[in-house]
Symmetry: C2
C-alpha cells in the first residue's frame, strides 16, 4: 500500500471515531444511581437563567469513589437533573424536566476541560444536545477554580 | 415438662418476639435506594410543623414494584428523608436531617394501619423512635383516605 493510501485509510478510520469518542454519552439509567444531594435555585440567583428550578445530583459507582478521594477515575459520571420548581400553597414541588446535565470523566479524551466531558440534554432527550463543542466556555469556565475537588462542586453528605 | 412450664416457656419465647416483630426496622442503607421525588414544605403550609423542610422519598425494589401496581408487596419500604431547608441568597439548600420517616409493608403484622408499619427516627438516629405505638393516630389517619394507591401519597415519575 502506498503511503498516501495508508494515510487516507487512517484518516477515514480515525476522524469519525475521534468525533464520536469525544461526544459525551447520555447517562442511561441514571435515575437508579446514588442520589447525592438536591438544591433549589430561585429567581434572583445569579444562575437562575441557566439553572433555575430544583436539581438533583446523581452519581454512578465510579463517581462515588471520586467524591471520597477528590480524584474521580475515568468512567465516573455525575448527573445534574434539573426540574422546574413549582411554588404554590407554601410548597415547592417538581415540574417538568428542563435539562439533564452530565459530567463524564475521561482524562485522555477531555484534556482541555479538566479531564471531564460536559453535556446537557434538553428536557432529558438523549438526542437534543445543548453544549456540544462549547464545553470549555459554557461549563468548564465556572468549574475551573475547583481543581482541589477535581472540578466538582457537589460534596457527598450522609 | 409440666404443662405450666411449657406455657411459661412459650410465653417467654413469644411475647418479646411479638413485640420485636411489630417494631418497624430502621431502613439500613436507604440512601442507596431509588430516589422517587422531592418536595419543599415551607412556613405557612399546614404540615409545616411536622414536615417543614426539604424531603426526599426513597424506595427499595419491592416498593418500586408497588408503585407500578398500586399494591405494595410485603417487604416494600418507603423512606421520607426530611432535612432542614436553608433559604439564603435566592436558593434553598439542604441542612441537618430532621427525621427519617418509614413505611414498611407487612400485611399480617400491621393490620390496623393498612398493612403498613410507620415509624420515624429523629435526626436519622436508629435508636430514637418518635412514632412507636402511635402510628394509627400520628400517621395512618392522614394516609387512610388513599386506599386506591395502597395508602401511599407519592407517585413514581421519570
Amino acid at each position: 500500500m502506498k503511503s498516501w493510501m495508508l494515510a487516507a485509510v487512517i484518516a477515514l478510520m480515525m476522524s469519525p471515531a475521534v468525533a464520536e469518542d469525544a461526544e459525551v454519552p447520555h447517562p442511561d439509567g441514571y435515575r437508579h444511581w446514588f442520589h447525592v444531594k438536591s438544591m433549589v435555585i430561585e429567581e434572583g440567583h445569579p444562575l437562575y437563567a441557566a439553572f433555575g428550578g430544583i436539581h438533583h445530583i446523581y452519581a454512578n459507582d465510579e463517581a462515588l469513589q471520586g467524591y471520597r478521594s477528590d480524584a474521580f477515575p475515568d468512567g465516573a459520571v455525575l448527573v445534574f437533573d434539573l426540574l422546574d420548581a413549582e411554588h404554590a400553597d407554601h410548597a415547592v414541588t417538581e415540574g417538568e424536566r428542563k435539562v439533564v446535565g452530565v459530567m463524564h470523566k475521561n482524562a485522555a479524551r477531555y484534556p482541555n476541560t479538566g479531564g471531564w466531558g460536559f453535556e446537557g440534554f434538553a428536557g432529558g432527550d438523549p438526542n437534543t444536545r445543548v453544549v456540544g463543542s462549547e464545553a470549555e466556555s459554557a461549563c468548564f469556565a465556572c468549574h475551573a477554580p475547583l481543581a482541589d475537588s477535581d472540578y466538582v462542586f457537589s460534596r457527598l453528605r450522609d
